[in-house]
């Protein structure tokens, strides 16, 4: 059943801010199995060779979004990426465009702040108590399969942040709100239950958001969940402009 173990040469970024000024590379030669993912190799090193290596992971089924890393220079979900796609040697680094905390762990708090700025929740014009009439007798909004389909794709984002690593705008302008945050804000703008598009579009018209995007499309290419954030950014640009144009002719709500 067990095949003769194949070996792989693995280069891993190591960085401990307590000791190192800059990140360095550590090399490991390890036995691998043909059905392993990149994450399995990292876990092998952690368990059997060097327990001081730090990385994040949990679900190992491509849904929790924690295990994003650069593999041979490309952002990858390591639990979804087969080792067999690489032969002989492989280079694993922390996600690009984020500050490194330690080894393969990056600081994502910047994203968490950006995420909150797009108000990723259902906004309604009325207070909940007065809004109940919008619900059916089961207490839910009515939403057709087509209305659901309008935003579903953009709700599939697992916050893995590969798209930020791939984005040339983020690389130059770290303040750029970025693909996933825009996709998730736009997801609510497209949701038939939501009434907050105007508010979010105001955010989208601000500096460092949708109009900073140069439409390189890199984000959509690396996205492991086919969210197509580039499409979201493009649609959000349009939405923000239309809303703005409307604002020129119509008085602002509540003003």
């Amino acid at each position: 059943m067990t095949e003769a173990a194949e070996m792989m040469h693995v280069e891993v970024t190591r960085f401990d801010p307590d000791q190192d000024e800059v990140p360095k590379v550590q090399e490991y030669d390890i036995p691998i199995q043909s059905d392993w993912k990149v994450l399995d190799a990292i876990n092998y090193i952690k368990d059997e060779v060097d327990s001081s290596l730090s990385h994040r992971w949990s679900c190992r089924m491509a849904v929790c979004g924690s295990c994003g890393m650069m593999v041979n220079g490309e952002p990858k979900l390591t639990c979804k990426t087969s080792l067999a796609d690489y032969s002989g040697s492989i280079k694993i680094e922390p996600l690009a465009n984020f500050p490194i905390v330690r080894d393969l762990v990056v600081d994502i708090d910047g994203f968490m702040d950006k995420f909150r700025q797009v108000k990723p929740w259902i906004l309604r014009a009325k207070e909940r108590a007065e809004d109940m009439e919008a619900l059916n007798e089961k207490g839910t909004f009515s939403q057709s399969p087509a209305e659901l389909g309008a935003f579903k794709q953009f709700s599939m984002c697992i916050n893995c942040l590969l798209c930020y690593s791939a984005c040339p705008v983020v690389a130059n302008e770290p303040e750029f709100i970025g693909p996933a945050a825009i996709a998730l804000g736009h997801r609510y703008n497209l949701d038939s239950r939501d009434e907050g598009a105007r508010e979010r579009n105001e955010t989208f018209r601000g500096e460092g958001t949708v109009f900073s995007c140069s439409f390189a499309n890199e984000c959509s290419q690396v996205c492991p969940k086919n969210v197509d954030p580039a499409a979201a950014v493009n649609q959000a640009k349009l939405g923000a402009v239309i809303d703005w144009a409307k604002g020129l002719v119509l008085p602002r709500e509540g003003a």
């Binding site: 327990s51 949990s58 924690s66 905390v101 839910t140 909004f141 399969p145 709700s155």
Partner: protein
């Protein structure tokens, strides 16, 4: 130096149960400060991996009475009926709330929420969002929670101890993973929502973070762990990785086949005709093992397995209802279910047992609450029905949030200096452990020993001689876990020390599990003994309660709360 922060309540865990508790508290008390502490960013919590759905009565042909009875029967009459009644009554409202908050539930053409069939449920009452239900529920909850300014998050903080004063819970001691600094996070009530402990076993659907920390925290603080012997094996995990293929695959019409290609479940008594595959999990898992033992398992390089056949459903149906199943099967076992059978075998999935709680999500310790998989409110008894636990996270989480706030409002903050002192001792203990090369046991080695001990002693089928051996061995492993050899001295994102503390938690629970199992000389739900094949209501219709002592767990009993559903033979 310890950092002290003060809140009204402290919630440990940012999965389905913890987020629901935080929202309940924040909504009802806009002036209150709610701490939400989690060892991973909330959206990484393992709720994210749930696939199939969440149960609540939705259709006109259904009723709370039916959902209640299905749950009691599924529990093999070990469920507490007051909890079950409350649960089925609250369930529809909770799932509707989640809809209001943006969860993309799958829809019928008329715009209402769609439901699907699930094992052990008499009618379609499982709400779903294709086959990524936990993912969508968790993200909807997390995103909704962000609107509340009064939820203060402590992301990537690892809780190591409950802080107590005069027997009341007053906060937690936590290690900030990124800095290695210690914190005393104080509140007048604490909610544990730390999830299950599947990683005690080698082959599980659970992610690496499911190490039972909250169970161990409560146990060490003197609270009982209840019914820990009941471990759910899910019938359909991928061989090798243990990745789950959801029961919804059978709910949508999939078949299980043996080496002869037969739909063997038709011959077991779990339903009729087209529903043969929709028996409860304990029974279906046993049937698969029996097929293996009768020589009808499929042998291959991924080991002995059975086959899940979806080919007759067609590509369109699979893409519409089970896209994640298709993605998982292709990525992790190289099989496209549109054309081929998916190899599957029973896999450790869910802990029915946990921290002893009641219908109020309260524990025996004043100020301490627990909800979700960490808790054992006795909704699930000896066997959980699939899709009841996501709903349980919401129902019990909301109750915990409300009750903890009520308790906090009527109680004092405690002596901050004394609590800080307690956390300082804990900090010193953890500092001494960090990078301590004194010990001789390797984390991964001991973990593997624990894993194989539990697999051998506490599998789908058990017998008392092997359970006794497992209990003895688990005890020895627990003792050895105080002698770990660590090498990483860094304070920054030191995952070695986290792994060490998680292992210490797990070995403690492994012993409780094995000891509790060895004491139950009957077969009930997921606890199936070859040497005691029958349920024995005369002698064993009680909850096992395990208390920590220096020599290992001390067992006690607690009555099952019966009600209008009388125990009867469990037949499907």
């Amino acid at each position: 130096m310890i950092q002290v922060s003060r809140h009204d309540i402290v919630i440990v865990g940012g999965g389905g149960a913890g987020l629901r508790a935080a929202i309940a508290a924040a909504e009802a008390h806009p002036d209150a400060s709610i701490a939400l502490v989690s060892k991973v960013y909330p959206m990484r919590s393992h709720t994210v991996s749930a696939e199939g759905g969440a149960a609540a009565v939705a259709r006109d042909d259904d009723s709370e009475e039916l959902h209640g009875f299905d749950t009691v029967k599924g529990s093999d009459f070990l469920g507490d009926q007051d909890v079950i009644e409350y649960f089925v009554e609250q369930a529809p409202r909770e799932l509707a709330l989640l809809e209001n908050w943006g969860c993309p539930w799958s829809r019928n053409d008329d715009g209402t929420v769609s439901t699907r069939a699930f094992g052990g449920m008499t009618t379609k009452r499982t709400w779903y969002a294709t086959d990524k239900v936990g993912f969508h529920m968790l993200h909807a909850l997390f995103q909704h929670s962000m609107r509340f300014e009064n939820i203060v998050r402590y992301d990537e903080f690892f809780v190591t101890e409950l802080l107590t004063e005069n027997g009341e819970c007053k906060g937690v001691a936590a290690l900030e993973i990124r800095t290695g600094e210690f914190h005393a996070i104080l509140g007048r009530a604490v909610i544990l929502a730390t999830g299950g402990a599947g990683k005690i076993f080698p082959f599980t659907t659970n992610g690496t973070i499911k190490t039972g920390d909250g169970m161990a925290l409560a146990y060490r603080a003197g609270v009982a762990l209840k019914d820990m012997e009941f471990v759910q094996y899910h019938p359909t995990g991928l061989p090798g990785t243990g990745i789950l293929i959801t029961e919804a695959a059978r709910g949508e019409g999939g078949y299980l086949r043996n080496a002869d290609g037969d739909r063997f479940l038709v011959d077991y008594d779990y339903g009729v005709g087209n529903k043969a595959e929709l028996g409860p999990r304990d029974m279906v898992s046993r049937a698969i093992i029996q097929e293996f033992e009768a020589g009808r398992g499929i042998d291959s390089k991924v080991g002995l397995h059975a086959a899940l056949d979806l080919t007759h459903l067609g590509e369109a149906h699979i893409n519409e209802k089970l896209p994640f199943v298709r993605e998982l099967a292709k990525t992790y076992i190289g099989v496209d279910p549109v054309y081929e059978h998916i190899p599957i075998r029973p896999v450790v999935h869910y802990m029915m047992g946990g921290v002893d709680t009641d219908v109020n999500s309260a524990t025996s310790m004043p100020g301490l609450y627990a909800a979700g998989e960490v808790a054992c409110a006795s909704l699930n008894g000896a066997n959980r029905l699939g899709s009841n636990s996501l709903t349980e996270c919401l129902v019990a989480g909301a109750v915990a949030g409300q009750n903890a706030m009520d308790f906090a409002r009527g109680s004092s903050e405690g002596n901050v200096e004394r609590l800080r002192g307690q956390a300082e001792c804990e900090s010193a203990r953890v500092d001494a452990l960090r990078g301590s090369a004194k010990g001789s046991e390797q984390i991964s080695g001991l973990r593997q020993e624990m894993n194989s001990t539990m697999e051998e002693g506490c599998g789908v089928y058990r017998d008392h001689p092997s359970m006794a051996v497992a209990a003895e061995k688990a005890r020895e492993i627990r003792q050895r876990a105080s002698d770990l050899h660590l090498t990483d001295k860094s304070k920054v994102f030191n995952t070695e020390i986290i792994g060490a503390m998680e292992l210490v938690n797990m070995v403690e629970l492994a012993e409780v599990l094995a000891v509790s199992a060895a004491a139950r000389k009957e077969s009930r739900g997921a606890h199936t003994c070859r040497d005691f094949p029958k349920r024995d209501d005369t002698n064993f219709l009680y909850h096992t309660m395990a208390y920590q002592t220096e020599d290992g767990p001390r067992l006690d009993k607690k009555d099952v709360k019966l009600g209008h559903w009388e125990p009867q033979e469990r037949k499907y």
